[in-house]
Amino acid sequence: MSSDIDTLPAYGSGGDTTKGIGRWLAGFALRGGSLLAFAAVLTFFSVSAPFFFTLGNIGNVLGQSAILGVLAIGLTIVIIGGGSNVVKGGIDLSLAANLGLSAAVYATLISAGYGDSVAIPGALATGVLIGIVNAIAVVVFGIVPLLATLAVMNVVAGLELVLTQNTVVSASTDFLSVLSSYGPFDIPVLAYVLVIFTVLAGAVVQFTPLGLRLYAVGEFPEAARAAGLPVRRIVAGSYIASGLCGGLAGILSVAYLSGSTTGAGEMLLPVVVTALLSVVFSRRLVPTIGGTLLSTLLVGFLTNGFQLLNISSTLVSGIQGVLILLVVAATSLQHGKGAV
């Protein structure tokens, strides 16, 4: 993983004072600005669409964000463990395809007459297997993650086509009905799933020694290796965890769509956007699980608000694009490319 050394100069070089202040300002503007922007979005929609700020609608948005949120958390784990260099750092492009294949495996098993006791492990195992393939490609063969997971993405998408013949496979079980129903306070069960999953993932990544090692490996691979951390094993683990998230998201998606449908690949861009955006919602401008939840909800609220205001949702993609540009520009500035 020596390529990750490229991310080092950002922290390694001292830089002169003016540059330091510039960076600090950029970081401050980004952090404060992003929270302000989030608040502004909420206020704007609450004022212009009275229905927006109701418990029912917020619950719906949380539920609608569950699939994206779980995938984005998977990607966040990979980015933390692989370093946030957009080109050479950790990335898992196979996540959306993973969701598609896991959902297809689940739905196919159900429609073949197997119960949830087979289909759930089947979907999760599919996700984990994809994660293992990614891990081998990246850690054992040393392929740049961007390319390795791109190749795996194509293989996985192809397998989904073979399995489903590019058709909709419907599935309904008691478990799926519970997942797609509404829970306490008339909030979708998927919303609770997202919150619980975020809390669990956040606890592991932000508050355990394992999580700390994950950050260490991502930010300072050489130092981590020197300190005796099993760098390769931790990086491999991050891809497997991400694969598991893909499998889990697959199950949620079967519940949401009453089966597996085509077009899972369209999820890729929103997942990458969400995970990259998570950076601006953290104090030190690093990817965090909590930040990912916030950026998932930002994307969810934007889509929902536009829907309520009857504005074309294609605008959401445009806004996502602008957000990415801002984030990448500001983080580059903050990491001080000029100082290298």
């Binding site: 979708p188 009453s258 009857n310």
Partner: protein
């Protein structure tokens, strides 16, 4: 028809439907009946009513025309339209249905969609006491479904195909959207017809049409299958349940110089009707629907229902099979481009 001037396009349409009906004896009864029944009736107002319109996509001539016609009609009847489009993304479609249901509109109209994906949410809307209407979605959860008679479209198109190829030969079939009810009905009708023509064979495996990139994908799939069956006569015809794959297939046949093969589809998209007019094009049959009339009628049914009138389970809007011989008459009758 001079007395119709100034009454508006839809009355003109009805008048021309009635007039045109004389040319096609088989369809005359159906068309004239629809035209007369609609012309006499007053449409109740939608004043103060919010009508939610949920479209699966608007990337295709049929969808877009029906979608816009719905919005226009809601406005014309004095109501408020909450119209959203899922851009052919099922996840988006479910979210938009959830959001629409939560807004508690006075009625919800679903335009197309894979039945197993939309039906649980239409049921949820019904359970929330929102009157559900559909276009081209056959489900017990909707009060009324406005649609073309897809059984008739399916069998008429299949009969045209079988007759064109002389009742024998291999045909290529696009069957990618069996989960969408109208497509399933048309496909089943094709199977029902060729059951009695044992010499007509569907080449296995069937092709799967896709969205998006339907035209390019159909082009490359047909090009590939032509390479697999290089002898002239080894394929007689290509069938698809809508006409965007037909467009790609027709272009592929022209590009490969295999214009002896004929193509068939459904919807009456302007591009395909244009191909039908071209005597050298392999496009041989197209079931022309009236998306504008379908969208408008669905909204009128909403208004009728909200005014307390009883509705039939299905409202059928006439469609006609256009072929190389009758294309001009059909476009004139249905007032299509």
């Amino acid at each position: 028809m001079g007395e119709n001037r100034g009454i508006g396009r839809r009355n003109l349409l009805k008048a021309s439907l009635a007039a045109g009906a004389t040319f096609a004896a088989a369809n005359a009864g159906l068309l004239a009946a629809t035209a007369n029944a609609a012309a006499e009736e007053e449409i109740p107002s939608l004043k103060g009513k919010r009508v939610a319109i949920s479209a699966t996509g608007t990337d295709h001539h049929f969808d877009l025309t029906a979608y816009n016609a719905q919005i226009d009609e809601v406005k014309k009847l004095g109501g408020e339209a909450i119209a959203v489009d899922a851009q052919r993304n099922d996840t988006k479609l479910v979210s938009q249905l959830q959001t629409l249901i939560a807004q508690k509109p006075d009625a919800l109209v679903q335009l197309l969609g894979t039945l197993t994906v939309v039906d649980p949410w239409l049921k949820r809307a019904k359970d929330a006491k929102i009157p559900v209407f559909t276009i081209d979605v056959g489900t017990p959860n909707s009060i009324n479904n406005t649609t073309s008679d897809n059984w008739r479209i399916g069998s008429d198109l299949a009969l045209q195909l079988v007759s064109d190829i002389g009742g024998a030969g291999n045909i290529v079939v696009f069957n990618g959207f069996y989960g969408v009810v109208p497509c399933a009905i048309r496909y089943d009708q094709l199977k029902a017809v060729i059951k009695y023509y044992p010499d007509v064979k569907i080449i296995e495996p069937e092709l799967r049409d896709v969205i998006p990139n339907t035209v390019q994908d159909a082009f490359s799939q047909i090009t590939a299958i032509l390479n697999k069956y290089p002898e002239k006569g080894s394929i007689k015809a290509i069938w698809s349940a809508w006409d965007v794959p037909q467009l790609g297939a027709t272009q592929a046949l022209v590009a490969a110089g295999r214009t002896e093969i004929t193509t068939y589809g459904v919807d009456g998209s302007p591009e395909v009707l244009q191909l039908l007019r071209d005597p050298n094009s392999p496009a041989a049959g197209n079931a022309a629907q009236q998306p504008e009339e379908i969208g408008r009628t669905a909204i009128r049914n909403v208004a009728r229902y909200l005014a307390g009138q009883k509705l039939p389970r299905e409202t059928y809007i006439p469609a006609l099979i256009a072929n190389k011989k009758n294309i001009e008459e059909v476009t004139k009758t249905l007032r299509l481009g």
